[in-house]
């Protein structure tokens, strides 16, 4: 928000390949040369049939896994040369995650879960992170649930906590893998609306994997992956005018 951030593309992928060793010798390539750029403030959907490589791509972008080849830049920083510790730090600072199955840490309260990314970075709890977490919970409308454990909240509420947690580090990029996949339509709508709100108010970039065409249609950009290749990359008309520099590959 207030911090001066790199103002080039938040994410740049150049010719990303990913293969998995299956069996002894044979390698299966899952991603075949992905080129992709996300600018600050973009709100993009990643769609495609099951098994097309969406989660694989998201894990690579989230620095949870390394590509077999190709260049991956986060905030302009080349990541291929970083060691495990540096990747962990960059991941903690620049990327927020929202997963399908909420994945709150059940031993902690909602507030503590939201504090967690700062806690692991700083090592010890402090008042500032508590306040920031409280503010984020307020933003997602869960102040009353601050001291609830995960099992005391509904799926939609848990996913809202997860979104608040993804925003704790004020990341450049939030990656969401089917964030509404487990929710009923109403909760899905409100979770989606929340992400959109954060995107608009804080210029946070979102990349959202979804199977729901209705939700995908409400994104500014729809990237379609089929069999490990981007087959279409469609920018909504309104946004195209706003961002003339966008040239999808």
């Amino acid at each position: 928000m207030a911090e001066a951030k790199f103002d080039g593309p938040v994410l740049e992928l150049e010719d990303i390949h990913k293969s998995y060793a299956t069996g002894s010798e044979v390698e299966t390539e899952v991603l075949h040369g992905i080129n992709l750029r996300l600018q600050r403030g973009e709100f993009a959907a990643l769609i495609g049939p099951s098994g097309s490589g969406k989660s694989t791509l998201l894990n690579l972008i989230g620095l949870l896994d390394r590509p077999s080849s190709g260049r991956l830049l986060i905030d302009g920083q080349e990541t291929g040369s970083l060691d495990d510790g540096a990747l962990t730090r960059l991941r903690g600072r620049s990327i927020g995650f929202v997963f399908q199955h909420h994945h709150l840490i059940p031993a902690f309260t909602a507030l503590e879960n939201v504090m967690m990314p700062l806690l692991v970075e700083r090592g010890r709890p402090d008042d500032e992170m508590r306040q920031r977490a409280a503010k984020l919970l307020d933003q997602v409308g869960l102040t009353a649930q601050a001291n609830h454990q995960a099992n005391q909240m509904s799926g939609g509420q848990q996913q809202r906590v997860a979104i608040a947690r993804a925003l704790t580090m004020q990341p450049s990029l939030v990656l969401a893998d089917e964030p509404t996949g487990n929710l009923d339509t109403k909760s899905a709508d409100s979770v989606f609306a929340l992400m959109r709100e954060v995107n608009v108010s804080q210029q946070t970039t979102f990349l959202i994997v979804t199977h729901d065409p209705r939700l995908a249609a409400r994104c500014d950009r729809i990237i379609e992956l089929v069999d490990g290749t981007i087959v279409s990359d469609h920018v909504a008309e309104v946004r195209k005018q706003e961002m003339p520099q966008q040239h999808p590959d």
Partner: protein, 405 residues
């Protein structure tokens, strides 16, 4: 969340608290193991110190004697027959005054007590008992045997013409404090002494045999004027007796017997007891370690999703490693606290129930606080050590796999 606690500690305690039943069971498991170790150690060390105390109640740590004849070089063949004849007689330690001065200067030696002792007969009325006449300097002797504390009647006073005898001998002779006692030495010298006190050294044989007199009286009675038949030493570290005895023997050419050699059988028993208790301790420790490890391995598997999420949020491998090592340490520490409390209860019960027929305790068990401290430290270390495998597993977990699974 306490502000001063690092993330790893917060996560470790939360995980343990969340895994309630699992944590509780393993802590109880560790506790039972620790309680057995503590109880056994206290019992054994009580038994041991009790036996040692009994053994040493009438023995010096090191006794210096004139050289054994057979040990002397036989090169001078003319001396041979003479020495053999002399063996019948009591022999004195050459220049013992000088030796005493040197011994007193050795830092390892706490007390030096010259002794003139030999066989004699105690006669009172018709009763005639074979005894060992022991001439001592009471102050020095007390530092080794604490005879003054063992007096059950009268006082330890050994001026000329005075003696203290054991309660058994007193019974055998029908004598008590203030009575006269005649001592006939084997070479025909006789003296009549007044009994000033009765002692109980905790050993029937000793109580029936030992007759204490002043050093000078003994020297006269035993025909050892100016000489001593042995020198008793009290050491600062009684378990160093062997080494010190060896050194003295080498330096002086005299015979020096350590109480450890003298009681070799007793020590063999003690050592084998120690070994077997160490074996038991080791295996209890091992099973405790396996218990902790298996519970934590399960916990890592159960929490793999959470670990994956934490790693995705920027938690390092090191943080995950430490989180689980700390859990192991906490389980060990809490288990040892529980175990020590249990052991304390067992010991109290034992004290109340293990009694002699007359109601006195079989032997004293004093539990040193170090035993609890050591077991706490040991159990904590075992806990951390057994957490190594699960913790490394947690640290090396691939977040992608964990989150997907």
């Amino acid at each position: 969340m306490y502000p001063w606690l690092p993330f790893e500690w917060i996560a470790a305690t939360r995980f343990l608290r969340e895994g309630r039943m699992q944590s509780l069971l393993i802590i109880v498991g560790v506790g039972v193991g620790v309680s057995v170790i503590v109880f056994m150690s206290a019992l054994l060390s009580g038994l041991q110190s009790n036996l040692v105390r009994r053994t040493l109640s009438s023995q010096a740590h090191v006794v210096i004697l004139p050289p054994e004849e057979v040990a002397r070089p036989q090169r001078d063949s003319t001396l041979g027959p003479i020495l053999q004849k002399q063996a019948q007689r009591l022999r004195s330690i050459d220049q013992w005054q000088k030796l005493r001065g040197r011994l007193a200067e050795m830092p390892e030696i706490a007390a030096v007590s010259p002794i003139a002792s030999g066989p004699a007969f105690a006669v009172r009325g018709n009763a005639n008992k074979s005894v060992t006449l022991i001439g001592i300097e009471p102050d020095n002797y007390n530092r080794i045997i604490a005879l003054d504390e063992k007096m059950v009647a009268g006082r330890l006073r050994l001026n000329a013409g005075e003696t203290v005898i054991g309660i058994e001998l007193a019974k055998d002779l029908g004598a008590s404090v203030g009575d006269k006692l005649r001592i006939n030495s084997s070479n025909g010298t006789t003296d009549t002494l007044t009994i000033t006190g009765l002692f109980d050294l905790g050993n029937k044989g000793v109580n029936a045999r030992n007759v204490y007199v002043g050093l000078r009286s003994a020297q006269t009675l035993l025909d050892l004027v100016g000489g001593v038949s042995s020198i008793d030493l009290g050491l600062r570290d009684m378990y160093a007796a062997d080494a010190i005895a060896l050194r003295i023997a080498r330096e002086t050419g005299l015979q020096a017997d350590s109480w450890i050699k003298t009681n070799a059988q007793f020590f063999t028993a003690l050592t084998s007891q120690k070994i077997s208790s160490n074996v038991i301790r080791f295996f209890i420790g091992l099973s405790v370690a396996f218990g902790i490890a298996s519970v934590l391995v399960v916990s890592v598997v159960q929490r793999s999703k959470e670990i994956g999420i934490l790693r995705a949020m920027g938690a390092t491998r090191g943080q995950m490693l430490r989180t689980f090592l700390i859990q192991g340490g906490i389980v060990g520490l809490l288990g040892s606290v529980l175990g020590s409390s249990l052991a304390w209860v067992f010991l109290a019960l034992w004290r109340a129930l293990a009694l002699n027929p007359d109601g006195t305790p079989m032997f004293m068990i004093t539990v040193e606080p170090e035993l609890f401290a050591i077991s706490a430290a040991g159990a904590t270390l075992v806990g951390i050590f057994s957490a190594l495998i699960p913790a490394r597993r947690a640290a090396s977990l691939d977040p992608v796999v964990a989150i997907r699974g």
